[in-house]
């Protein structure tokens, strides 16, 4: 062993993590709370409460929570069967599906909703293709439609977590159950379900938080059906005259509290139901869960899912991007590739925006993975209070609406006394992305790491491994899949991040997302849609490239 003991290093890492989080995340958010009690530059401690009492607040809060619950249900229905299929049937060899299934998540939510709206609205693409189906329109423009759109957008996220957990459960436990005479349902209920619960809890919580903090779909689809949620209300106070930060921040504080309560409930479940699954012995998929007819059913399920989550929205997006005149609808003589030509000409504004997006998200995702892994390792099993604090702090950005976090960051980094001149630089954008998306890596690495048995590290020590050696040869290989998932997620979302970019980009700088948004604002829908196709296409290509490199290395 070196000069420092393992315990010392741990304590050090923990302290450092806590301070970094305080500086990067907690302080900016505190600025928000401070804002919420200052009305007209006067301290009024009860201002948040008065705001809440005066606004139609309870109704909006309830709408948000109800939407969150419905979307959890929706994503579960989509992700659970899929995770099961992709970990237990022959289709698990279709690695390309993993990348394809990320496409819905890579599609900016407001673009996806636009796609659905264009398809389903009166005189929309559905009606132009199948005039007899016009009767579907009214039932689609309802809360049910909104839940469907949001579930189709978010399910890949839950799927990745669940599949990871199912793969780790492996076959032996279930086979033991079968040997003892347990039927399929019994085995599912008594073996798989409890083992899955901690990953599911984590996933469901994040889905809930993502849903109630989501702005794109409520702003496009929700507004259309008159379904108001917290984010749209907050956005109203923050972006229309007269700007009222204190009202917005009061509401954000409540949203934050609601999310922290959820987080607490989840962490209780997590502590109760976490089991050490990855021991020294290797694991393999269960043979019990594979049979002939399930394959057919699985293929059908995946096919339907792909049509709903990618086929329909992308049909609309592609159609809209290649239309000469939007008022003419679907017709061969209305087809043009001009938007793409305009976008892809070298040195154009759009090309610049595209390159900006790529470089910014590459930087952000790499930095986020490093930071996130550090936090996740420090958190470990959330045993001590400090570990739980680090856990809570690192999750904070995911529990506040992006726009609130970003305002906090601006207040913090642009204060007159801030000595680091980061505001209005590319560095600030990267930092914002890192802070917004670091919870993903934390979650992914944590969910892998908490299931690794401590016996493995002890074994390493017994055999005289130094700390760095244990980390390199035992910890790292085990958490790499989590890190990779975190990297992919961060890159994907950072490259389409809108709300933060709108506020934080230095003047004269655009990313693909703000470019798209600007085109919609300017009425250039085809240009915006074409940019969506190109940027999602590029991200997909990059992921395919990574996936193929990854499978060549083949760790198991």
């Amino acid at each position: 062993m070196g000069g420092l003991s393992v315990k010392h290093i741990r304590a050090w890492c923990l302290t450092l993590a806590l301070i970094a989080l305080l500086f990067l995340i907690v302080m900016p958010l505190l600025q928000i709370f401070i804002q919420s009690v200052y009305v007209d530059e006067e301290f009024q401690w009860d201002a948040p409460f008065r705001t809440l009492a005066a606004s139609p607040f309870a109704g909006v809060l309830f709408s948000s929570i109800w939407l969150g619950i419905c979307v959890i249900a929706g994503t579960t229905v989509l992700a659970l069967p899929l995770a099961w299929i992709m970990s237990n049937t022959r289709l698990a060899h279709w690695r390309w599906l993993d990348v394809v299934l990320l496409i819905p998540f890579m599609t900016p939510p407001y673009i996806g909703s636009m796609g659905w709206i264009l398809f389903m609205q009166k005189n929309g693409y559905l009606e132009q293709l199948f005039p007899d189906l016009y009767f579907l329109t009214p039932s689609f423009f309802s809360l049910g439609g909104m839940v469907m759109i949001m579930s189709l957008h978010l399910f890949p996220f839950l799927y990745l977590l669940l599949r990871g957990a199912l793969v780790r459960i492996g076959g032996s436990l279930e086979e033991a159950g079968a040997v003892m005479g347990g039927g399929f349902l019994y085995r599912f209920r008594r073996i798989i379900l409890p083992l899955l619960l901690s990953a599911y809890g984590m996933g469901a919580l994040l889905i809930f938080v993502k849903t109630i903090a989501e702005f794109g779909t409520p702003a496009t689809f929700g507004r259309r059906i008159g379904y108001e949620v917290m984010t749209s209300e907050i956005h109203k106070y923050i972006s229309s005259w007269p700007i009222d930060f204190s009202k917005a921040t009061s509401m954000a504080s409540v949203l934050l509290t609601a999310c922290l309560l959820m987080w607490y409930a989840q962490s209780v479940i997590n502590r109760k139901f976490t089991y050490r699954l990855v021991g020294g012995k290797g694991s393999r998929p269960s043979r019990l869960r594979i049979s002939g007819w399930t394959t057919g059913l699985s293929v059908a399920f995946i096919l339907l899912l792909l049509i709903a989550s990618i086929g329909i929205p992308y049909f609309s997006i592609l159609s809209a991007s290649t239309m000469k005149l939007r008022g003419m609808g679907l017709a061969w003589d209305n087809l043009t590739l001009d938007s793409y030509k305009e976008l892809l000409s070298w040195g154009s504004e759009s090309m610049e925006a595209l390159l900006n997006s790529v470089f910014l998200s590459l930087g952000a995702s790499t930095l986020a993975v490093v930071l996130g892994t550090w936090f996740a390792l420090v958190i470990g099993g959330s045993r001590t209070r400090i570990q739980r604090t680090v856990d809570a702090f690192s999750l904070l950005p995911n529990t506040v609406p992006g726009i609130v976090m970003v305002v906090g960051l601006i207040l913090w980094w642009n204060s007159p006394w801030m000595p680091i001149p980061l505001y209005n630089t590319y560095g600030m954008v990267i930092l914002t992305y890192v802070i917004l998306f670091v919870p993903y890596t934390v979650q992914y690495v944590k969910s892998v790491f908490t299931q690794v048995d401590a016996g493995l590290f002890q074994a390493g020590q017994v055999f005289g491994g130094r700390l760095s050696y244990i980390f390199r040869r035992i910890v790292l290989p085990l958490i790499v899949p989590g890190m990779l998932a975190g990297w992919m997620m961060t890159f994907t979302i950072a490259s389409r991040e809108l709300v933060g970019s709108l506020l934080i980009l230095p003047p004269s700088v655009q990313t693909s997302a703000t470019y798209i948004f600007a085109q919609f604002e300017q009425g250039q829908v085809s240009l915006g849609m074409a940019m969506a196709v190109i940027s999602v296409g590029m991200t997909t290509l990059l992921l395919i490239l990574m996936e193929s490199l990854n499978s060549r290395r083949k760790w198991k």
Binding site: A20, W241, P242, R326, G327, N356, L422, S508, E521
Partner: protein, 356 residues
């Protein structure tokens, strides 16, 4: 896994050193993030180094339309040699950014799409008066500040935009849209998101008095739907999901029509409201001379010609637009900007409640 006692003492011992280290790390961490700025694609961004000697910089926050703002900036840059950093967004986005930057303002000049907001900025003492602006005397006096706090260098008029494939006989008055033939066909922009829609509502009410609300009640009864900001309200009409936008911004309609979309606009006979687009210098400006020169440029013949070409109404009365209806061809309501500025938020609230 961890012995609590040992952990605690270890923690205490290390705390001081850790604190010192972390701040070092935080600074260093940001130090490593900053070079990315220079490493990022070379688009001639923020060259602070070369701008150090003389004042060659100006930061402008401007509300759309996108193409026009860029042309104006390019024109000014060519004329003055000053490098302009442009932030583009809706009026709301710009105001939000200014609010977040309050303690350390960045912008020198703002161009907004709403008169009441800039009146608000003036009231809060955030604007820098520039009474000697060249050509300011040729501006429409109703839209600009006498003391030179803001200058409306362009404007749009509000009308009724309709899909020519779906609506064969276009309405001629605001009241027509309450008729059964237009039931469930009409969109109206959300006044909390569209400054110009709010201008229409407050303008109409200031001209008609409280009785003006009857029109909106009839709209609600006839299934008029509140639909996002201007372009969001217009898009469904272009694609044919809806037939009509009431209180539509005219230049957006002209632009779509010029492209060949099946859309057109009428100005109702009883008169409509103009929505001026003011530019103002902020008191906090670090580049006062450049900001003033920029205002002069916006009022110049060249810039006003660019405005007219973008299908907007020029701010100067002596410049005519040939791609659209000019001011003298648009019937106007007798509006009261004072009243409109004061009652904006009440009207927004009442209206959005009514149409929810």
């Amino acid at each position: 896994m961890m012995n609590r006692h040992v952990f605690r003492t270890g923690w205490k011992k290390g705390t001081m050193l850790a604190l010192t280290l972390t701040f070092g790390l935080a600074v260093a961490g940001c130090g490593t993030a900053t070079p990315t700025k220079d490493g990022a694609p070379a688009n001639g961004s923020a060259g602070q180094a070369e701008a150090a000697s003389t004042d060659q910089k100006l930061v402008v926050y401007s509300a759309g339309p996108d193409g026009l703002a860029k042309k104006l900036i390019a024109g000014y840059e060519a004329q003055s040699g000053v490098k302009v950093e442009l932030f583009q967004g809706t009026t709301g986005k710009i105001l939000a950014r200014m609010e977040a930057e309050k303690t350390n303002p960045v912008a020198d000049v703002v161009v907004l799409a709403s008169l009441p907001s800039v009146q608000g900025l003036k009231k809060e003492g955030l604007t820098l008066p520039y009474p000697d602006a060249k050509n300011a005397d040729k501006l429409n006096p109703d839209w600009s500040d006498k003391e030179g706090n803001y200058f409306s260098t362009s404007a749009s008029a509000l009308g009724i935009a309709y899909n020519t494939k779906l609506v064969k006989t276009p309405p001629t008055s605001w009241a027509d849209l309450a008729k059964p033939e237009y039931k469930d066909q009409v969109n109206i922009p959300d006044p909390s998101l569209s400054g110009s829609a709010l201008d229409f509502m407050t303008g109409y009410l200031s001209a008609k008095g409280d009785g003006g609300w009857t029109l909106f009640e009839q709209y609600k009864a006839n299934g008029v739907a509140m639909a996002g900001a201007n372009q969001e309200a217009l898009d469904p009409v272009i694609t044919g999901a809806k037939g009509i936008v009431v209180a539509a911004v005219d230049y957006m309609t002209y632009k779509a029509k010029a492209k060949g979309e099946p859309i057109d606009i009428v100005y109702p006979t009883e008169g409509t409201v103009i929505s001026p687009r003011p530019a103002a210098i902020l008191k906090s400006t670090q580049h006062e001379q450049n900001a003033k020169a920029f205002i002069d440029y916006l009022l110049s013949d060249d810039a006003q010609k660019l405005v007219a070409d973008a299908s907007l109404l020029p701010g100067r009365t002596d410049i005519k637009a040939d791609k659209r209806a000019n001011l003298d061809e648009i019937p106007l309501l007798k509006t009261n900007w004072e009243w409109m500025g004061e009652h904006g938020s009440d009207v927004t609230e009442k209206f959005t409640q009514m149409f929810k």
